[in-house]
Amino acid sequence: MKLKLLTMHKHLFLGVEAIGQGAIDGGMSGVYSYPGTPSTEITEFIQENPIAEERNIHRKWSANEKTALETALGMSYAGKRAMSCMKHVGLNVAADIFVNAAMTGVNGGLIVTVADDPSMHSSQNEQDSRFYGKFAMIPVLEPSSQQEAYDMARDGFALSELTKVPVMLRITTRLAHSRAGVARKEVLPENELVMPTDPRQFILLPAIARRKYKGLLESQSLFLKLSEESEYNRYEEGTDHSLGIVACGIAYNYLMEHFPGGICPFSVVKVSQYPLPENHINRLNRECDEILVLEEGAPMVEEMLKGFFSNGTPIKGRLDGTLPRDGELNPDLIAKALGKEMFEGFNIPEVVVNRPPALCAGCGHQDAYLAMNEALADYSKGRVFSDIGCYTLGALPPYETISSCVDMGASITMAKGAADAGLIPSVAMIGDSTFTHSGITGLLDAVNERSSITVVISDNESISMTGGQDSSAFGKIESICIGVGVDPAHIHTIVPLRKNHEEMVRIFREEFAYNGVSVIIPRRECIQRASSRKRNKK
């Protein structure tokens, strides 16, 4: 009876929420993540979910994506189901464990959920995580709808346990942040704690690793068979064989938008599970004169179908200019690819100007930048290396303080490299959470060589860019810096407020002139987090 009620009632879920609910309903015992747009709300949904609370599902944030996925693998080792969530560039941080977890395989089901950001709405690149899935040779699921996102998160654990490897669940921004009706299914129980049957399964010593790798290679035929039989993949036969279409993930929706009632004249292979279902693709190749590939992200499938010599069926997509080589897809681009005429809409009047994001009024990063600019006025430009966070907006007017934003933690190490090259002083500007995510090891390198750098850890006691999550760095920054070996005489903490401006400028000046590693910590709580904390108290 309960089950029936659940399936009848539809929930209006964002794609990310559908994944969170699916994972809970799939018997997950722990989620391990680091925030990153557009993946953050999966873990937040689980953190606020009553079933997760009742079951005490692990749901605290990890220090970074690598520690997150490693911990999830540990839970899998002990037989329980775990998920790790991250944005696409987070998978770079976790790449070592990701690829090697495919080698060890799993005990309890393990899903690695990765949210890509084509068109770079909130990211520094638009890399396509399906390549990582292919690289690690594991099954990849790519939902076309919120319902599929729910189903894949719920049933992905069983797929992982069946294939004995981690399964990747890949989404993109639009599915992550779009809402639609989702029907829930029965809530599955969690696994019992069960040790791996093979005690050497997780020991990747070369002799064992070679055996494990052969096993992974042998499993590929099973993964292919599962893809070919998957309910997420299907062949939809059309009447017009001049063109066949491969539509991956959400691109399927953009295609069907142009065929009300779901009746497309062309044959379509809908792909939502990889490896590519060869049966459907081969049939499309046999039956159609040309093939159009629609995929969100990079032309991965297109390249696979095209091969090197391009002697077979003409393949159209992002590589031949039928679709743009970069950026996310949308219904308009697909209409053009299909040769459909559309009303192009009205032009944007010239009076409309850009409204870029900006640091909030009252944000402490602003005070830090104003003081830093004044203290740097005596030096040549281009000395501040920055990092990933709200403070990256210090690249824009009126501050224009920073000269780099590359990856998590690169501020400290790039400053060190520039100082090694003779740019003294060099300055790093990094946030509290980014520091504990990937900054500590870089600081250790600098301390070990007494590099002439000043590291500004702008501490707003929160992971703010993604919405104010708890920071692993909270209350620990000074002790970490001292532990790493920074001279306590060159660690300064100050409250970044206008009234402390002169004091801040003085400290910056002194430490820029110091020939060694110094750390300056402007510390004031993120004003967004402070106000939401006050709201929640009411």
Binding site: L12, L14, T37, P38, T40, E41, H121, S122, R174, L175, A176, H177, S178, R179, A180, G181, I250, N253, Y254, L255, M256, E257, P260, G261, G262, N330, P331, D332, A335, M342, F343, E344, G345, F346, N347, I348, P349, V351, V352, V353, N354, R355, P356, P357, A358, L359, C360, C390, L393, P397, M465, T466
Partner: protein, 193 residues
Amino acid sequence: MKSDIILAGVGGQGILSIATALGEAALSDNLLIKQAETHGMSQRGGAVYSHMRISDQPIASDLIPGGTADLILSVEPMESLRYLPYLSETGYLVTNTTPFVNIPNYPEIEAVMAEIRKFPRYIAIDADAIAKEVGSTRASNMVMLGAASPFIDIEFSKIEDGIRTIFGRKGEDVVNMNLEALRRGRQFAEENR
């Protein structure tokens, strides 16, 4: 029925409260919904938008195709113009006239209004002023929803129900203020369309 709506504003203005009220209304009318939101970096005072699609037939795309939107509903005048490429030949533009100035090069408001008035089907309403009259400027988004309601094919009573659902927790007074805001917005649109 089908209503494809672009909701527009500036990060922090709360355009998603409009989407939530409309979503509740559509659900209680047994309609299907897809709604794509803007999260992340642009929420820091940048331009934000949401694609809201409501239909009695299955909806394929999460994004509205260009040149097909039935309505642009903007809580800020300049932002109402940013999404014109989405509007259909017969679509309506409904916008608040109170500018949100958080950039140094915000254009002259008269120049913005002149562009809006050039458009054949528009409603330009001072939602903040009306919201103040009914009790709080925080109700201005519901004034905007009311002003857009004549152009959305959902029963008005269902939209009222939606407001009751989402503000119910906050008590009778808040519900009534928002309902009044909604009705005043609708009244203005009916008189000025």
